[in-house]
């Protein structure tokens, strides 16, 4: 350690075990044990967290060779399918039979999916980000089909369901629909006004947003609400100042202050954030709440040092980051913890803590966000 603990009242941070965290995610990319069978219907999300960790740590190219990255791109594209409800990505091949397709690298538009194997809204969002992390050229992107899929998922109250024929519908799906629209730079697939009204109905007396209208304020869905409201195109009639990432015409000053207050209240004495009032801190809420504050332009009010101290104790001794100290790590918490640290770099920490700039609205690195703009927008 470089600093002398005697003349430093803040205890110094241990090293951030970058390489061990990358190895944890690399292991998960190559296979999950049978105890993780619940991931069968969300494998693209697991892939996104693992690839995201490698991207944040800048280890994707050194740890994984180009041939393998090429095959992973193909595998992700193989989850894109088209049919009655439009085009999107399924969570993985859990319904794909060996009999069903003569497999090619490109899934042809017109491949019909069954009612029990439709694309999935959240998975479509994670697939697009994963492809950008893998630096895909997006030549296989079915933009029109995806817009149709978004339309199929929106419901009459403005919300979106995960599946065009059912499934959960709450702020998480709204966020994915908004993120996909802005990634495609095309908002014609969704009714923004009714979705914004739905989001506003989710705000709760504490100042956070519940998962759905009437729900208890929760850090994760508060992020979904705030990021969506800031991604939404600003109506041309609005007298708002020039659009900045820190401004949304859909949030009043009074509501903004109340949300900031509630978010900050959730930074617990451990330094980590909890997701709801009076709960214990959890690594993932360090991102959800931290990114929410960043979006509201209030990141300067967070105690970075305490946050990093908490996350340093969530590091598992064999790599990966757990939701809390003494728990088992997983790719989701590893990714969220690193994303939180990228937004809130601790001062006076050694170089192992250095992370790239984040795009908090899309939840990816600035570099990957730029790749999306260069390869999808205006194409």
């Amino acid at each position: 350690m470089s600093s002398d603990p005697l003349d430093n009242d803040k205890s110094s941070l241990p090293r951030f075990a970058r390489s061990a965290h990358a190895s944890h995610c690399n292991r998960c990319l190559s296979g999950l044990p049978s105890t993780q069978v619940e991931a069968d219907t969300s494998r693209l999300a697991v892939g996104f967290y693992c690839l995201g960790v490698m991207d944040m740590l800048g280890l994707l190219e050194s740890k994984i060779n180009e041939t393998e990255r090429e095959r992973w791109r193909d595998w992700v594209w193989n989850q894109q399918s088209s049919g009655t409800y439009g085009t999107g990505f399924r969570p993985g091949p859990y319904m794909t039979g060996q009999d069903s397709l003569c497999w090619s690298d490109v899934t042809q538009p017109g491949d019909e999916y069954s009612e029990y194997d439709t694309p999935h809204l959240i998975m479509t969002y994670t697939a697009l980000l994963s492809l950008a992390i893998l630096r895909d050229d997006f030549k296989r992107l079915e933009k029109k089909g995806i817009l149709k899929f978004l339309r199929s998922c929106q419901r009459s109250d403005g919300s979106f369901s995960s599946l065009p024929n059912g499934g959960d519908s709450d702020l998480r799906q709204v966020y994915c629909a908004f993120a996909i629209s802005s990634i495609l730079d095309d908002w014609s697939g969704i009714d923004v006004d009714s979705a914004v009204k739905y989001i506003q109905r989710c705000e709760n007396y504490e100042g956070g947003y519940g998962q759905s209208p009437g729900g208890e304020a929760l850090g994760g869905t508060t992020y979904c609400a705030l990021a969506s409201l800031h991604l939404a195109p600003v109506p041309s009639s609005s007298s708002s100042p020039s659009r900045t990432p820190l401004f949304s015409p859909h949030i009043s000053t009074k509501h903004r202050s109340r949300t900031i207050r509630w978010l900050l209240q959730n930074q617990t004495p451990s330094g980590g954030f909890c997701g709801r009032t009076n709960k214990v801190a959890d690594a993932c809420y360090c991102f959800w709440s931290g990114a929410s504050l960043h979006i509201l332009g209030a990141s300067g009010l967070v105690d970075n040092r305490a946050l990093a101290t908490f996350l340093s104790t969530c590091q598992f001794k064999f790599g990966g980051i757990a939701k809390a100290p003494e728990e088992r790590p997983d790719p989701y918490h590893t990714y969220m913890a690193i994303a939180a640290l990228a937004i809130y770099p601790p001062e006076d920490a050694d170089e192992s803590w250095t992370l790239p700039e984040m795009n908090a609205l899309w939840n990816t690195t600035d570099e990957t966000a730029q790749w999306i703009r260069d390869h999808i927008h205006n194409k």
Binding site: C28, E216, R276
Partner: protein
């Protein structure tokens, strides 16, 4: 756990490929692709059952045995939403009694409390039962009792609470609503810091859609303020109670200043002495209370800010004391409040 089909004579441990009554089906193995991302090392049982499931879906089969198959799959992977979807569709097509299904899923729901699909399935069942059952209200009230059992294993489970709130709003019947406040009070007696219970209180008291003039808002507010003050007296540093108090004042557009006397009791260094007159409207902090408590100081500062003028100075003093002494984790926030007040 009860089984759906009673005429199944095979050993439960048997794989589907070994069961005589499934010999007419050709299982469809999964194609995982070349170099797949995060492949799962499935157990032989899961691999076997899902191969038959793919075949059933492809053949579009609707039959009793589908209920067995989907039950086995969701027992191994409760997040397998396609199996849930296919199961529900089969129940409806077979005109299977849905109240029986609901009961079958009771133990399952408690075992897999954290899985969304478990609650979504019940939601579909209750939606169908409301329009088809002879006495839907009794089913709903039985369901509320079941949810209490589920919540007793995890009193803050988000899915379970959402489901309870959905059920109340969906059936919207006084008979169902009337048990809610006593239930919340029982929960808060056990754990006054249970924010889900506080939130449910808000949902029941303020979130329920009422006809114009159905209730006297003034009376309700008075009752709620009195209740919350009592809970704060028991545990002064409980943000759930303070947030509730703030929430109901804002909701009813009641000035924070109306609670000044109460809040001041919690903003001073020392607890008021025993000799003081007992004021039932303003319960004092208990003898062991840590004073002053930060949420009360924050509240008092907000009162000063609300009043404005000369009182702003007092607000600033309090924010400084919060940042330097009573709530140092949020030092930067309290400094920000000072800066904002000075810039007005």
């Amino acid at each position: 756990m009860p089984r759906v089909t009673s005429n199944n004579s095979d050993d439960e441990a048997q794989l589907y490929c070994e069961k005589s009554e499934w010999q007419d089906i050709t299982p469809i193995p999964q194609y995982d692709g070349i170099n797949p991302i995060a492949p799962i090392f499935y157990t032989p049982e899961y691999k076997d059952a899902t191969e038959y499931f793919r075949a059933i879906v492809k053949a579009d089969e609707v039959s009793e045995r589908v209920l067995q198959l989907t039950y086995d799959i969701i027992s191994m992977n409760p997040a397998h939403y396609s199996a849930w979807q296919y199961r529900y569709r089969t129940l409806v097509a077979l005109k299977h009694p849905l109240d029986v299904e609901l009961e079958l899923m009771d133990a399952f729901a408690i075992k897999f409390l954290k899985t969304y699909q478990v609650w979504h399935h019940r939601r579909l069942l209750l939606t169908a039962l409301r329009s088809s059952a002879p006495s839907p209200l009794s089913i709903a009230s039985k369901e509320l009792a079941f949810i209490i059992r589920a919540l007793s294993t995890d009193t803050k489970n988000y899915h379970t609470w959402s489901y309870r709130q959905w059920l109340l709003a969906f059936f919207d019947d006084e008979e169902l609503w009337e048990g809610e406040l006593p239930y919340v009070e029982r929960l808060l007696e056990t754990d006054v810091r249970n924010n889900s219970a506080w939130h449910h209180r808000y949902f029941v008291v303020w979130g329920r859609v009422r006809a114009e003039g159905e209730i006297d808002v003034g009376d309700v507010l008075k009752r709620e303020i009195a209740y919350t003050k009592d809970q704060i007296a028991l545990a002064p540093n409980n943000p759930s109670a303070w947030n509730y108090l703030r929430g109901i004042l804002e909701h009813t557009k009641t000035p924070f200043n109306s609670l000044r006397t109460f809040v001041e009791l919690y903003s001073t260094q020392t607890a008021p002495g025993e000799e003081d007159i007992v004021d039932l409207d303003n319960p004092k902090p208990g003898p062991g209370a840590q004073l002053p408590c930060a949420p009360a100081l924050e509240f008092l500062a907000d009162i000063h800010e609300e009043m404005g003028g000369e009182q702003t100075k007092k607000a600033i003093e309090i924010w400084k004391s919060l940042g330097n002494e009573y709530d140092t984790m949020r030092k930067k926030y309290w400094e920000f409040r000072v800066k904002e007040a000075l810039s007005v």
